[in-house]
């Protein structure tokens, strides 16, 4: 079997960032690819997840939020090469945003007292737990730290759900911009100089009336301490940006074959390209088997829907003992002997087929919208069961990397 481009990415990348709209299966995809990397390619893989489905977390042995990667036991899985035990390793972590912020402050603060005064300010509490955009930054920052540790050959990172799929790309730059902004400089000026600085006076008047002077005071205290992190922060944000642009980093965009997530995927793919970031591929999740829809089957479905009776008689005839030779397994014939029930079943079957055919058509149209990325589209099959075990996850991962 030739290696697909996606398998090549899993084999050779150091960092894979998985993005896309909410609800398309980003986390599952990230975990499935990580598992293939460990089991079939023998790499040492870390999967950083943000908010996995409970059963997926269960399958990977993750109980609670943890920034420290936990080892996932994969010894019982079989590598694709005959009977050879997997030689790689898999670890997984589930980001704790608040703890990550605290770690970052402790790392960047010049001394313990500054760190303490930042962490005790009410504004810090809000920023670290509620400021949604900060999650994007934290996820990427966490990735940087773990990559730097050099413990892993490959880190697959699942991006947090955000208003806009591009937010996590912007996060480091925004952090940097914030630190060098005029606003921050102004906020950290002593109050009196703020009032005499004529450029800011109108703003200050409005701000004070709207927000209240006490809040502005808190804000000013907070950013005064926060500013001491400036050097460490900016340097870090630049390093993080560099890692995202490194040749060993690739981005994978996940979508489902529906309109809204595909629009988001196309947007994200273009944004990545325009930032000269490496788009490794677009993964279309939950696709239906291609061979499902044929002219013959479609015609049969329509004919049954129009007039099911003759087909029901035909089906009952086939089920009658002896009618179609000896191939009918014993026990089957007693199952469907009622003409009415058989009619209902056939109509239902025709309806289901029709619905599937429409979904397949929708899939075709959405894949068509992605045609500019043709050589980088990978399709994952719709699974019949939810991912509850590493075996199922591995199956999904293999279906993804081995397709074509």
């Amino acid at each position: 079997m030739t290696r697909s481009a996606l398998l090549e990415l899993v084999a050779s990348s150091e960092v894979l960032v998985v993005g896309g709209a909410g609800g398309v299966g980003k986390t599952t995809t990230a975990a499935a690819l990580g598992l293939v990397g460990a089991v079939d390619l023998g790499r040492s893989v870390l999967v950083i997840t943000v908010d996995p489905a409970r059963r997926l977390a269960g399958a990977m042995g993750l109980g609670a939020l943890t920034n420290d990667p936990l080892d996932v036991s994969i010894d019982h899985l079989q590598s694709l090469s005959e009977g050879r035990p997997p030689i790689g390793e898999l670890a997984a972590s589930m980001l704790d945003m608040k703890a990550s912020w605290d770690e970052m402050i402790l790392r960047c603060a010049p001394d313990a007292a500054t760190a303490k005064s930042i962490m005790e300010n009410p504004i810090y509490g809000s920023i670290s737990s509620r400021f949604v955009q900060s999650h994007d930054y934290i996820a990427i920052e966490n990735l940087y730290e773990l990559h730097r540790s050099g413990h892993y050959d490959l880190i697959v990172v699942d991006t947090p759900p955000s208003r806009n799929a591009i937010d996590f790309l912007e996060a480091p730059r925004r952090m940097e911009e914030f630190f060098s902004s005029r606003l921050l400089r102004w906020l950290t000026l002593p109050r009196r100089s703020r009032l005499v600085s004529s450029a800011f006076r109108p703003f200050y008047t409005v701000a004070e009336r709207v927000l209240g002077s006490r809040f502005l005071g808190d804000l000013s205290d907070f950013f005064l301490s926060f500013q001491s992190l400036h050097g460490g922060f900016v340097e870090r944000a630049r390093a993080v940006t560099a890692l995202l642009g490194a040749p060993s980093t690739s981005f994978l965009v996940v979508t489902a074959a529906e309109e809204a997530p595909t629009t988001e995927a196309i947007y994200l793919a273009h944004e990545l390209t325009s930032r000269s970031l490496a788009l490794g591929g677009i993964i279309v999740n939950r696709t239906l088997p291609d061979e499902l829809v044929t002219l013959r089957s479609k015609a049969l479905g329509h004919a049954i829907a129009d007039d099911p009776a003759p087909y029901a008689r035909e089906a009952l005839e086939l089920l009658r003992p002896g009618s179609s030779g000896s191939e009918v397994p014993p026990g089957v014939t007693e199952l469907g002997s009622d003409q009415q029930i058989m009619t209902r079943v056939l109509v239902e079957v025709a309806n289901c087929y029709d619905a599937m055919a429409v979904m397949k058509e929708r899939e075709r149209i959405q894949c068509g919208r992605l045609s500019t990325f043709e050589d980088r589209i990978f399709r994952a099959p719709q699974l019949e069961a939810e991912v509850t075990s590493l075996e199922v996850l591995l199956m999904l991962g293999r279906a993804l990397v081995l397709a074509e």
């Binding site: 909410g22 609800g23 398309v24 489905a53 409970r54 059963r55 504004i123 809000s126 509620r130 400021f131 949604v132 208003r163 914030f178 902004s181 005029r182 606003l183 906020l187 450029a199 409005v206 009336r209 709207v210 927000l211 209240g212 006490r214 809040f215 808190d218 804000l219 950013f223 809204a260 088997p289 829809v293 044929t294 013959r296 089957s297 049969l300 035909e314 089920l319 179609s324 030779g325 191939e327 009918v328 397994p329 089957v332 014939t333 199952l335 469907g336 029930i341 079943v345 239902e348 079957v349 289901c352 087929y353 599937m356 055919a357 429409v358 979904m359 058509e361 929708r362 019949e384 939810e386």
Partner: protein, 318 residues
């Protein structure tokens, strides 16, 4: 006894929320259609605008100023910046835009630096439309599970952050509207998959603990209905076995694909049943609860929204 739909649409402000991708916008618009059809002056507000609601009605670019799209039905797209301007204009009587230029430039940073400002502007604008009685029903196509709690808890949170100032003065009347279960409610939307259901359960818990707003309905969207009764299933298994045995099908040639599609379809449907029950049993018994089957269509457009509205009307009539 009032029908569940009547009790939902008797609210003045409804936040439609749930995990990303479950169909919040479709459900918000469907509820908006139903409200407008009953003669209620209705506003649908896209809180995180993607222009989807406008597109349903064939409008290219909606905006902060409500656009009339059908009888009794207006649509608007939230913009925190525009909301801030409106607010300042109303309460500070500032000449716009002369003195606001520095504010406009730095607004984004202030909003980011002081979490709660952005959120309270969104909630404030919606409550304002309710208070001024511009509409009978305001439907917020709200933020997804991740952000809705901070939005709805912002009026309380602001109390801690802003002990004085105009923002502080404004929170009392907002809280009054939000906390009144006769006026305001949350409509949870989920699909029958594990994560959206679990997230809805968690969200319900957090909304209860951290906000004053109460639950008004739960809707499970895009559900694949279960296909067969037991007796029919047995017959279906018989047909499957026939195919597995490789019997010559004659006129039924091509049946294999139909059976395969049905098998996949019903396996998807079966795992949904227990998830729907899990959500239903976790919510108070009297909470209006609706299951909307998936509508296999090539595009999501007004026709799908209308079909969802019709289903909701039936599902929520008893």
């Amino acid at each position: 006894m009032t029908a569940p739909l009547d009790s939902i649409l008797s609210k003045r402000l409804i936040f439609v929320t749930g995990k990303g991708g479950v169909g919040k916008t479709t459900v918000s618009t469907a509820l908006g259609l139903l409200a407008a059809r009953r003669g209620l002056r209705t506003l649908i507000c896209e809180v995180e605008p993607k222009g989807e609601v406008s597109r349903f009605f064939g409008i290219k670019s909606g905006g902060f100023v409500p656009v009339n799209v059908a009888e009794n039905l207006d649509v608007m797209e939230m913009s925190t910046e525009a909301a801030l301007y409106e607010y300042l204009k109303l309460y500070l009587r500032l000449p716009i835009p002369v003195r606001l230029t520095p504010l406009a430039k730095t607004f984004d940073f202030v909003a980011n630096a002081a979490p709660g400002v952005r959120e309270i502007l969104v909630v404030g604008k919606l409550c304002y439309e309710v208070r001024e009685r511009h509409y009978d029903v305001v439907l917020a196509d709200a933020s997804s599970s991740g952000h809705i709690v901070s939005q709805l808890s912002s009026p309380q949170g602001v109390g801690d952050l802003f002990p004085i100032g105009l923002v502080r003065d404004q929170t009392d009347w907002m809280l009054e509207i939000l906390a009144d279960r006769e006026q305001t409610g949350i409509c949870l939307v989920a699909t029958a998959e594990e994560t959206p259901i679990e997230e809805s359960l968690e969200l319900n818990q957090r909304l209860k603990e951290q906000t004053v707003v109460s639950l008004v309905a739960a809707i499970v969207n895009k559900v694949i209905p279960s296909v067969f009764s037991n007796l029919e299933r047995t017959t279906f298994e018989g047909l499957s076995a026939l195919l597995d045995a490789g019997v010559e099908l004659g006129a039924l040639d091509g049946l294999a694909n139909l059976i395969e599609a049905t098998r996949l379809w019903s396996s998807l449907g079966e795992r949904q049943e227990s998830l729907i029950q899990r959500l239903r049993s976790a919510l108070p018994k009297q909470t209006p609860f609706a299951v909307v089957p998936t509508i296999p269509g090539v595009h999501v457009g007004l026709s799908v929204v209308t079909e969802v509205a019709e289903t909701l009307e039936v599902e929520l009539s008893l």
